[in-house]
Symmetry: C2
Subunit: 190 residues, 2 copies
């Protein structure tokens, strides 16, 4: 998605430790027109696929998922993150490791909000090691729902999440895939 | 807002401890059509007011703020919550006490995302004790920005936040104000 790549090039800040700060337009300050273009592009890529529900994870995925949902006419559900392992009985849960923050956490969705047999599209802002999307895929599977695929705004192609998810036959549509990046050489897209 | 009140009456679950669970349509599962009606209603109520930026707080405010932003044609910024008190120099910060969760936390916004003199509208899903909105108002003031007011989806009128904020001359527009609620007697709107 050229509009997105141009924006990443113009405003993205590459920091040490493979961190890409796109807070100025994507995940802390939100350019709502760009969000709408992102939503339309996801709808274009998944055109023809049945999508009964969009599933994302708090926090920065929520806004993108909500604006995107307008183009699918589907409800959004977001998984919550907990540090605790002891969660209630009425929740689906999955364990996720965050390499960025160096912690393990549990993601949950109330059982009422995911139904057997429905088609679920995952939406998230970033795909790096893939653990968050794997957690969402696990919730979907546990619920007996059908995973349509995942729409990702920015994939760090130099980390192994996208490769592993695709090897597991999960359809991944990333709007910008970064081949490599460094503070010195900047950002190179795949 | 009648549509909202009807929905709260139909699906809201009043739990012990003054908890109102509206997760089935507002803050975990999202009815995107309702979000759009909420956004339009905020735009109607603040029509004529200059709004340069919408400020909210993670997590459940983000989706409402993003959909609402479409009707103001303004960017959204969301404050992040931290448990740590030691935050970076490039952030505005405010301390917030959550009575719901029994913890203190720090909310932050990068200095680049709030500018002196601009007009800021706060958006959040709930107003109860008012601490989150007071924190957002403090960030706005620290930045030298102008607080237009706060758009709130559900106000718990039996808690003191709304009263205190209004006494401090902050314009609050709540789409549904709950006068009282209990598991036995249900929900009574103001």
């Amino acid at each position: 998605m050229q509009l997105l790549k141009d924006r990443i090039r113009a405003e993205g800040k590459v920091l040490p430790g493979s961190i890409l700060n796109v807070g100025s337009f994507l995940n802390q300050q939100v350019d709502i027109d760009l969000y709408n273009e992102i939503g339309k592009e996801f709808a274009r890529r998944f055109a023809g696929a049945r999508v009964d529900r969009i599933l994302t994870i708090e926090a920065s995925g929520i806004g993108i998922a909500c604006v995107t949902a307008q183009y699918f006419k589907a409800p959004v559900v977001f998984a919550r993150k907990f540090r605790a392992k002891n969660i209630g009985e009425n929740l689906y849960s999955a364990e996720v490791t965050s390499y960025t923050h160096g912690i393990d956490y549990t993601i949950t969705v109330p059982r009422d909000y995911l139904s057997r047999g429905e088609s679920v599209l995952l939406i998230d802002d970033f795909l790096a090691n893939g653990c968050a999307l794997e957690g969402l895929a696990a919730l979907t599977e546990t619920a007996g729902a059908v995973l349509v695929g995942a729409g990702v705004v920015i994939e760090k192609g130099f980390q192994n999440g996208g490769k592993r998810l695709r090897e597991n036959h999960i359809r991944i549509e990333s709007l910008a895939i970064i081949e490599s990046m460094s503070p010195e050489k900047g950002i190179i897209f795949r």
